[in-house]
């Protein structure tokens, strides 16, 4: 169509795009302000290190092995916690969403326990699963469980009754109903739950690693703190944030999910 051709034809150069210009201006202003603050000596030595120092710390970090070994540990812990918390969450969500009575009996507890600070359970997790990776995985799984369970339950209740009736009229078994009707119909809700769950699992694992641990990205951050290596800490935080945002973006693309603040 003519209209489409008009809007699609000349790809706008990035510098002609006002949004891109504003973004570049904001980033540039922030970097200049940062550098000025670093050079001014107003803040205590190295609390705001110069951009050059951060860049070289970032380069050192990315070019040495310890980052990748610890990243591997953290990714492994997050992955296992997602599997445990996710599977448990989906199972509980299916039961509570599928049965009105059980939903009314137990869902309020999930609803209200969901937004409590999970990290305070860490002492219990250490006693149950030890100071190694187990307690970190448990923290991640515990954090991940609640959003996944709640989203699954909500998603289950939102399935169109006609889909369920189609399944029933084909005399589908329970397993077939779950695989062919419930899970496909609930995909968006479950992916939202999984994305929220992944966000809190990342936080749970990383925070747990900053306490009583000798491996993982969280441990690296707290090690930089102990050694007062501020440029190193900034470099690490940049890596952690970029990875977390990347994971979230990938999952959102995959599920076509909406805003990040859906709780």
């Amino acid at each position: 169509m003519a209209g489409d051709a008009l809007t699609a034809a000349p790809p706008m150069r990035w510098f002609a795009n006002p949004i891109a210009r504003v973004r570049i201006a904001i980033v540039a202003l922030a970097l200049i302000a940062w550098e000025a603050l670093a050079a001014s000596g107003l803040v205590v030595h190295d609390v705001v290190p110069s951009l050059g120092k951060i860049a070289s710390a970032l380069w050192r970090l990315l070019s040495t092995a310890p980052l990748y070994a610890n990243l591997g540990t953290t990714l492994y812990e997050i992955g296992v916690s997602l599997v445990i918390g996710g599977v448990a969450g989906v199972a509980v969500g299916l039961v509570l969403g599928g049965n009105r009575f059980l939903g009314r009996a137990f869902e309020p507890y999930l609803h209200y326990l969901g937004p409590t600070p999970k990290i305070i359970f860490f002492p219990i997790m250490i006693m149950w699963f030890g100071v190694g990776g187990g307690s970190k995985i448990a923290m991640g799984a515990l954090s991940c469980f609640f959003p996944v369970a709640l989203s699954t339950a909500v998603g289950m209740r939102q399935i169109e009754p006609v889909l369920v009736r189609v399944g029933q009229s084909f005399r589908a078994s329970t397993a077939q109903m779950v695989a062919k009707i419930y899970l496909p119909a609930m995909r968006p809700a479950m992916l939202t739950g999984l994305r929220l769950g992944m966000g809190v699992a990342i936080i749970g694992v990383l925070l747990a690693e900053t306490r009583l641990s000798n491996r993982g990205l969280g441990y690296l951050v707290i090690q930089r703190y102990t050694n007062f290596d501020m440029p190193g800490m900034y470099a690490l935080l940049i890596v952690v944030f970029l990875l977390a945002i990347l994971a979230n973006t990938l999952l959102s693309r995959f599920g076509g999910a909406s805003s990040a603040t859906t709780v």
Partner: protein
């Protein structure tokens, strides 16, 4: 359905939920007493219940709750002021909104709390660090919901304002802001909730302040029943907070 039946159908699930929890605690108690669960890892539920009184009487729980509450309040006020102001700015300047809204959303999903060692260096091991963590954690939802609320005002309301020839300021205070208030409150509630979660978490991690430190303290003393009791207490406080703000939100939405 008769009135009695409908009351029964409301009460029965709640009763079943409560009874199940009591039964689970009873089973755990029994398993510990017969030695199937190690009592040095999981304390007796009855001992935890008994420790509640001790924790409340000896550990300054009320003072600690007030301290954490004050930190959350301070963070909440900061979040409301800055989140609201940034939200208004982004609504007024469309290009700014288009440029930064995805950044704010990305920030909302990022593990912001991981900057706590950074704040520890900047502000020291004190309440300022904790309030600042609450502030940065609570900021994104308030900004996003303020923008959503202010830019979603129904056209007819704005037209009414136009027909009364309201100035831009009047239009904002008389029309846009009141219409956006329920949505803004949703953001504020999320923001303060995130702030509270992070505040208690960081209190625990840096061993300073109110309820979070209490848990850490008791765990380090290896006082198991009291640790469990303190964790239950923190959970109760956050649930109470959640319940109250949920009620306020519903009240605002139906007004």
């Amino acid at each position: 359905m008769t009135e009695r039946e409908s009351a029964l159908s409301r009460v029965a699930p709640v009763a079943v939920g409560l009874v199940t929890i009591v039964v689970i605690f009873a089973i755990v108690e029994a398993l510990i007493r017969i030695g199937w669960i190690n009592r040095f890892i999981v304390p007796l539920p009855s001992a935890v219940l008994a420790a509640f009184g001790r924790v409340i009487a000896e550990e300054n729980v009320l003072w600690r709750t007030a301290f954490t509450g004050a930190e959350a309040l301070a963070a909440g006020i900061l979040v409301a002021i800055f989140g609201g102001a940034i939200g208004v700015l982004l609504t007024r300047r469309r290009v700014l909104r288009l440029a930064t809204e995805t950044w704010v959303a990305a920030l909302a999903a990022a593990p912001i709390v991981m900057i706590y060692p950074l704040l520890l260096v900047t502000f020291g091991r004190n309440a300022v660090t904790i309030v600042m963590i609450g502030f940065v954690a609570g900021l994104p939802p308030v900004i996003l919901k303020t923008v959503e609320g202010l830019s979603g005002t129904r056209r007819v309301l704005i037209d009414v304002g136009r027909s009364f020839k309201l100035s831009a300021t009047q239009e904002f205070w008389k029309i846009r802001f009141p219409a956006a208030l329920p949505t803004i409150f949703v953001g504020l509630r999320l923001g303060i909730m995130f702030a509270l979660i992070n505040i208690v978490g960081v209190e625990f991690l840096i061993n300073f302040g109110g309820l979070g430190q209490l848990v850490n303290d008791l765990a380090e003393r290896y006082d198991l029943p009291a640790t469990y009791a303190a964790i239950f207490f923190v959970v109760l406080v956050s649930v109470a907070f959640f319940l109250v703000t949920e009620r306020v939100e519903r009240w605002l939405a139906t007004r």
